[in-house]
């Protein structure tokens, strides 16, 4: 199995003063391989979200490197980093973060517009994704006309539609009720298995942990335990 993303001694410290400095992520070296359904777990403040942001190039590490398909994204910035995220990484956020003035279809379509995908292909992929996430017939609804679960499904479709190499999901079920959360996880697991899509979650939701193929335990910014099931 080939590595999709890896970190080498990656650190993210906040603050300059030695005494008050917060080591959110400290010397973390991990490798995520293609098709993994990996989960970063740990108590609040353990650095899960910060590590996920570093993996996704949303934040710059204080030191160390983050490589996605052999490219050190920690050294990128500006438009180059934006383009790289657009083409290689899909994001799913805890609070869905859909564009409120766009319909579900348009939210999914937007990233392809950034990629310069042709209109007919965009339409085809949007229809396909809506079907895959079980939202046929709801494409013209705006986020405020969708339930939390439906919004998160749109977010999943948005993350997947550009065919990224990895999908990073930050506590995707935290705002969902148990039943909806399970349904969403099953959907993502199915997509993972059917499309060999790589997922990395940050969570302390046991439902995700139970379905994960790998658990990376973080404690005070350091990897405590890295177990594969």
């Amino acid at each position: 199995m080939s590595g999709v993303i890896s970190t080498t001694d990656v650190c993210r410290y906040f603050g300059d003063d030695e005494e008050t400095m917060v080591k959110a992520v400290d010397r973390v070296s991990i490798e995520i391989v293609r098709g993994e359904f990996a989960t970063i777990v740990g108590p609040s403040g353990s650095g899960k979200t910060t590590l996920l942001h570093l993996l996704g190039g949303l934040d710059n590490p204080t030191s160390g490197s983050v490589e996605l398909s052999g490219t050190n994204i920690a050294a990128m910035s500006g438009a180059v980093l934006s383009d790289f995220r657009r083409d290689h990484i899909g994001f799913i956020f805890q609070s869905y973060n859909l564009i409120p003035v766009f319909s579900a279809e348009e939210n999914i379509e937007y990233i392809m517009l950034l990629q310069g995908v042709e209109a007919s292909e965009r339409k085809r992929r949007v229809t396909d994704m809506l079907q895959q996430v079980g939202l046929e017939g709801l494409g013209d609804r705006r986020p405020n006309k969708l339930s939390g679960g439906q919004q998160q499904r749109v977010a999943v479709a948005r993350a997947m539609v550009s065919h990224p190499e990895i999908i990073l999901a930050d506590e995707p079920t935290a705002n969902l009720d148990s039943k909806t959360g399970i349904a969403l996880l099953d959907l993502m697991k199915e997509l993972n298995e059917n499309h060999n899509m790589t997922f990395v979650f940050s969570t302390h939701d046991e439902k995700i942990m139970n379905r994960a193929s790998r658990l990376i335990h973080l404690h005070d910014g350091e990897v405590d335990l890295d177990e594969r099931k």
């Binding site: 949303l58 383009d83 990629q115």
Partner: protein
């Protein structure tokens, strides 16, 4: 297209705020258009009045006659000059004039007078002299049965000398050859009123004036009316090249005091308009910045999923430009009929105003591309300009920090 859709929908997210901003933009535009129309209309009327009254678009003299008039500073081949001007397709018409100070006598009184000899038919098609006649009729070149030429006199002279239509007028002046010029003329018309600039003027047929002043076919001034008002400077330069021995001036030079005052007044008006637009745009800037602040999290997400910083800045610019454009469309729809009414009907003055002997009863504006286009470009330009800092702010947002905000 999707970006445009996003910009359009974002405008209507805060309908009330967008509406208020649009109202202030449209209001500012209407105010600017009305002010420009009034300013351009007033000056255009004033320019038309004095251009048609006597100045013309271009004047030709010998040397510095315009500044230091002397009777001997004459254009000696007016016939040849007329032929050249008649052949010029840019020229609507032209007229020939001679000037001389004189003393006018009646049987009982005398008065200083300004004698102007005019080429009667050319003058009729070049200036409003014929329209300024308040009594009698436009004269001709013919001598009467007793061998006298006709004259048109200002109402001031008629009053001072206590003479009227059909009466004799005696003029005494100095001829170009140094002789004493004196002759009798018959009053055939009264020009203007006692307050008109022409009140002390005596208009004579050109040939009569040339004979009276011993000028033997020469003239002091050629006044030219162009087909296009805006071409005075260009055509003056063209004619100057063709007539190097003469001095050719556009009306902006001939009426330099008026022109400079007008320019200064327009600049003051522009400053005032700029101030109004500035106040409007403080409100617009506030709206745009508020909009960016409220959507910090959204911009963070857009950046996270791959929107380039420049694209986000462009989105803000697009939103501001779209809001300004919609406001301007509304502004044009309101101001167009208003300015049309103002231009074609105008505001009736409480008391009619005498402008160069012509009574002006209405204050009118101007309906032109400049009046509508200048404020439009200014407002669109300013709107795009103020969207830059807000756009840069949005573009610089850190996705991680933005998504932590509410």
């Amino acid at each position: 297209m999707l970006l445009l859709k996003l910009a359009y929908r974002n405008i209507f997210r805060q309908r009330r705020r967008s509406l208020l901003t649009a109202l202030s933009l449209a209001g500012g535009y209407i105010l600017c258009v009305f002010s420009f129309s009034l300013s351009e209309g007033s000056y255009s009327n004033a320019i038309s009045f004095f251009i048609l009254d006597h100045t013309g678009h271009i004047q030709i003299h010998l040397d510095d006659y315009r500044l230091r008039p002397k009777i001997h500073k004459t254009i000696d081949d007016p016939q040849g000059l007329s032929e050249l001007l008649d052949a010029n397709e840019e020229i609507e018409s032209h007229t020939l004039r001679v000037f001389a100070p004189a003393i006018a006598y009646s049987e009982k009184d005398n008065s200083p007078a300004q004698v102007i000899g005019v080429a009667l038919e050319r003058e009729r098609s070049t200036s409003t002299l014929a329209a300024k006649i308040t009594a009698g009729e436009y004269i001709d070149n013919a001598l009467d049965a007793e061998g006298y030429y006709s004259a048109m006199i200002g109402a001031g002279i008629a009053n001072s000398l206590n003479i009227g239509l059909g009466d004799e007028l005696i003029l005494i002046s100095q001829g170009a050859d140094g002789s004493i010029a004196n002759d009798i003329f018959i009053v055939k018309a009264i020009v203007g009123n006692r307050a008109s600039p022409d009140r002390t003027t005596v208009f004579l047929p050109l040939t009569a004036a040339q004979e009276f002043l011993s000028m033997y076919g020469s003239v002091h001034e050629v006044s030219i009316l162009l087909k296009d008002d805006g071409e005075a400077r260009v055509q003056a330069a063209v004619l100057q090249d063709q007539l190097p021995e003469l001095t050719v001036d556009p009306w902006q030079i001939v009426e330099s005091t008026f022109y400079q005052s007008m320019q200064a007044d327009k600049q003051g008006n522009n400053f005032f308009m700029g101030f109004i637009v500035f106040i409007v745009f403080v409100g617009v800037l506030n709206t745009v910045l508020m909009s960016v602040l409220e959507r910090t999290r959204e911009f963070g997400v857009l950046k996270a999923i791959g929107s380039r910083p420049l694209k986000i800045a462009l989105m803000i610019t697009l939103e501001t430009g779209l809001l300004a454009s919609l406001s301007l469309v509304a502004g044009i729809l309101v101001s167009l009929p208003l300015i049309a009414w103002f231009t074609f009907l105008g505001i009736e003055l409480a008391e009619p105003m005498d402008v160069g002997g012509i009574m002006m009863s209405h204050l009118t504006g101007e309906l032109s591309l400049f009046v509508f286009g200048m404020p439009l470009l200014f407002i669109i330009g300013f709107a795009l300009l103020i969207s830059i800092p807000a756009g840069l702010r949005a573009a610089r947002i850190s996705p991680t920090e933005a998504m932590r905000s509410n």
